[in-house]
């Protein structure tokens, strides 16, 4: 079923390097990945795993010292990896592939009114005149659920709260009706209640507009709610990918196990939280074998010598670990993440729906 779906972005053997202080660093190492049309594709990993760099290549926003060393990115019949000039990028960046960043204040100009910043995009990409653009800007603000948009359109970014600024950034991103929306940790700077609002907003908008979402985050809780498929990144490579159910219920790579077991919800009373020892690899020089091997409890000799190939677990689920080799010893995931759903079910509030009914009843009696 997966194979029949239409591919939106197809990445083939992509490698990205950076030159820093005379050192060449391989930050993205040979990624091959298909992203399907209309799906929500989440990329999970620690900071420094290269997840942001990977998506920056889709819009040509690599830093000046970064370059694509090999591979191709196929998007609507074009190879984005070959693009060099801004002129080439113009019809793609912002128009077909839009990005939302972590900190909304860096995306907004503090000196211009909100309305003008949305209108700018509309006039540039959709060729609207001033009047049309203004009407459309108000309409967009209404769609991202900003209360009283006619008035708020004249406000400056500092007058908005963090959550509302992120809504404005979403409005700007959606102004051109993009085919792909890249969300680069859009909720990390926000608190929990606002986070859940922004997530449901993105989900609702996706239902209406049918765009493809690429969602970058390190929070596994967020991923569970929003993603259709998940890719786990480590050391510049995708080390495991599959549907959300695959990743959460049948994780195969030791790094995914480690990520899942460091969830605070899984801590038993009185015991320490599990965490991943050591640091992510530095990209200076070549990495021999599996990048995760030095931090891996289950590492075998071969992990230090040779990189594992992608092993197929099911039609949708792939993982890059030697543990899946038929010759490898059978290793079970750590005890803490077995029966994940039962354990997590024990930590959440028993029946939020019942209590909510209680609430509405009480509200009625007030009236």
């Amino acid at each position: 079923m997966e194979t029949k779906r239409e591919v939106e972005i197809s990445v083939k053997n992509l490698s990205v390097g950076f030159i820093s202080h005379g050192n060449k660093m391989h930050v993205i190492r040979d990624i091959t990945m298909d992203i399907y049309k209309g799906e929500t594709f989440a990329i999970v990993g620690e900071s420094g795993s290269g997840k942001s760099v990977f998506t920056k290549t889709f819009t040509g926003m690599l830093e000046e010292n970064g370059f694509i060393s090999s591979g191709e990115i196929l998007f609507q019949g074009q190879d984005l990896a070959k693009f060099k000039t801004n002129k080439e990028w113009l019809p793609i960046r912002g128009k077909k592939i839009a990005t939302i960043f972590q900190d909304p204040m860096t995306s907004l100009n503090p000196l211009f009114r909100i309305g003008r910043q949305i209108e700018e995009v509309l006039r540039l990409h959709r060729g609207m005149n001033k009047k049309e653009a203004k009407a459309e800007a108000i309409e967009l603000l209404r769609r991202v659920k900003i209360p009283n948009p006619e008035k708020r359109v004249h406000d400056f970014p500092f007058m908005y709260s963090g959550g509302m600024r992120q809504r404005v950034v979403i409005a700007i991103a959606l102004a051109c009706k993009p085919d792909v929306l890249i969300c680069d940790e859009p909720t990390t700077a926000l608190d929990v209640t606002v986070q859940s609002q922004i997530l449901s907003l993105i989900r609702d908008l996706q239902k209406e507009e049918h765009f493809t979402t690429i969602f970058i985050t390190h929070d596994l809780g967020v991923v569970a709610g929003i993603a259709d498929r998940v890719a786990v990144m480590y050391g510049g490579q995708i080390i495991e990918y599959g549907t959300v159910e695959d990743i959460y219920y049948h994780p195969a790579h030791p790094y995914t196990w480690a990520l899942l077991s460091s969830l605070p919800q899984l801590a038993e009373d009185g015991s320490d939280l599990t965490y991943i020892h050591g640091n992510p690899p530095s990209f200076i020089g070549e990495i021999d074998g599996d990048a995760f091997a030095p931090r891996n409890k289950y590492a075998m000799k071969i992990d230090f010598i040779k990189e594992a190939p992608m092993f197929k677990i099911s039609d949708s689920h792939y993982a890059k670990t030697w543990l899946l080799d038929p010759r490898a010893p059978k290793v079970k995931p750590p005890r803490i993440i077995q029966n994940l759903s039962n354990k997590i079910a024990a930590t959440i509030v028993k029946d939020p729906i019942n209590t909510q009914n209680e609430e509405t009843k009480a509200g009625d009696s007030h009236d």
């Binding site: 620690e46 900071s47 420094g48 709260s161 963090g162 926000l190 608190d191 929990v192 209640t193 606002v194 986070q195 859940s196 997530l199 449901s200 390190h218 929070d219 596994l220 809780g221 967020v222 991923v223 569970a224 709610g225 993603a227 959300v244 159910e245 959460y248 480690a258 990520l259 899942l260 460091s262 969830l263 605070p264 919800q265 801590a267 320490d272 939280l273 599990t274 965490y275 991943i276 640091n279 994940l340 759903s341 997590i344 079910a345 930590t347 959440i348 509030v349 028993k350 939020p352 729906i353 209590t355 909510q356 209680e358 609430e359 009480a362 509200g363 007030h366």
Partner: protein
């Protein structure tokens, strides 16, 4: 001249305010009834606000809170709810406009003598949210960590100081060769560890941890949490843990206080709060936590909190202990309703 006649309540209030300002020692009844826990910090009728263009904006209106010795108290609320303000007020980083804060019975708010302030700074330490903003970029780790020791002359000789610094830095999982480095050479998690080392080296009685983990990654988050817990248990420190993420707070805290718009709406032992949240805002916060499980997360219903469910026009809300150690803010009729819920729960 017209003399305004004061009501007895007003008189009482003014008398109290004056008492809060002038007296040095306070002996408050603990808020929780029949408890034998020792109180470290108590806040009574604390009012904090800021002047914004000469216009007073209250942030915290009337705060009553006890922090027990040796516990971890989680303070949870959304941004702008005043949780950081409370932490800072205890640290004396911002003045309070009314009420009193006491530390082991001594007043620590308002005017104090210089040596009293110094004593307090020695006992109370803070861990900040953004590890890159709270460390001095121009000084090395050795200096950053030992700054407190220098300020209070807590070492006999240079060797003694160095030994103290290296034990502290080893305790947080860094190495002694890191001492000569500068903050920018470290990753976010390591920087946060330096921040913790700096706080812990003073052997404080109270640590105020102001969102120490919200700027960190999942795995590093776990390391930092473990570290704070380790120190809390080993050195028997009291921790005021401020955060917006209830799942983290649940793991680390003994008790949790939920704060909304400057009012504490619910305090309960942490397991109890998760089992039986009573205040609608607490429920909304609990449902907002993303569940790391695809099926449950999708089926979850998000409860949004709307202030208009409360009708406080006739009845004023009060902060009531509804069961042992479990406080909730509500009008008398709401309290009645909450009690009914608890009773039904017991029957089951």
């Amino acid at each position: 001249m017209i003399k305004v006649k004061r009501t007895p309540e007003k008189e009482e209030q003014l008398r109290k305010e004056k008492q809060y300002r002038t007296e040095k020692k306070f002996e408050f009844e603990p808020l929780e009834k029949n408890t034998d826990k020792k109180i470290l910090v108590s806040c009574r009728d604390v009012k904090i606000g800021f002047y914004n263009h000469n216009l007073f904006t209250p942030i915290v209106k009337k705060l009553n809170l006890d922090i027990y010795e040796g516990e971890v108290l989680g303070l949870v609320g959304e941004s702008g709810s005043g949780k950081t303000t409370i932490g800072r007020a205890i640290m004396r980083m911002i003045p309070i406009q009314g009420g009193v804060i006491t530390y082991k019975g001594d007043r620590i708010s308002g005017r104090l003598k210089q040596n009293e302030k110094r004593e307090l700074k020695k006992k109370v330490q803070m861990i900040f949210q953004d590890p890159s903003a709270c460390l001095n970029d121009r000084s090395n780790v050795d200096y950053i960590v030992s700054e407190g020791l220098r300020a209070f002359h807590l070492y006999d000789s240079e060797e003694d100081r160095l030994e103290k610094v290296s034990t502290a830095i080893k305790e947080v999982g860094l190495r002694t060769e890191h001492l000569s480095r500068y903050p920018h050479e470290f990753s976010g998690g390591q920087r946060q560890r330096i921040g913790i080392a700096r706080a812990v080296i003073m052997n404080p009685e109270l640590i105020i941890a102001d969102e120490p983990i919200s700027a960190l990654d999942v795995s590093i988050r776990a390391q930092v949490l473990n570290l704070i817990r380790k120190f809390q248990i080993e050195k028997k420190m009291t921790v005021l843990f401020i955060a917006h993420d209830l799942s983290v707070v649940h793991y680390i805290s003994d008790r949790i206080a939920v704060i909304y718009h400057g009012n504490i709406v619910e305090i309960a032992p942490s397991n109890r709060l998760f089992e039986k949240p009573l205040h609608p805002y607490t429920k909304a916060l609990l449902t907002a936590i993303p569940i790391p499980d695809p099926k449950m997360e999708r089926e979850k219903e998000i409860v949004t909190y709307d202030e208009s469910v409360h009708d406080y026009s006739i009845e004023k809300p009060e902060f009531v202990e509804i069961e042992k150690g479990h406080f909730v803010l509500g009008s008398p009729s709401e309290i009645k309703k909450y009690k009914k819920i608890l009773k039904e729960d017991k029957k089951m």
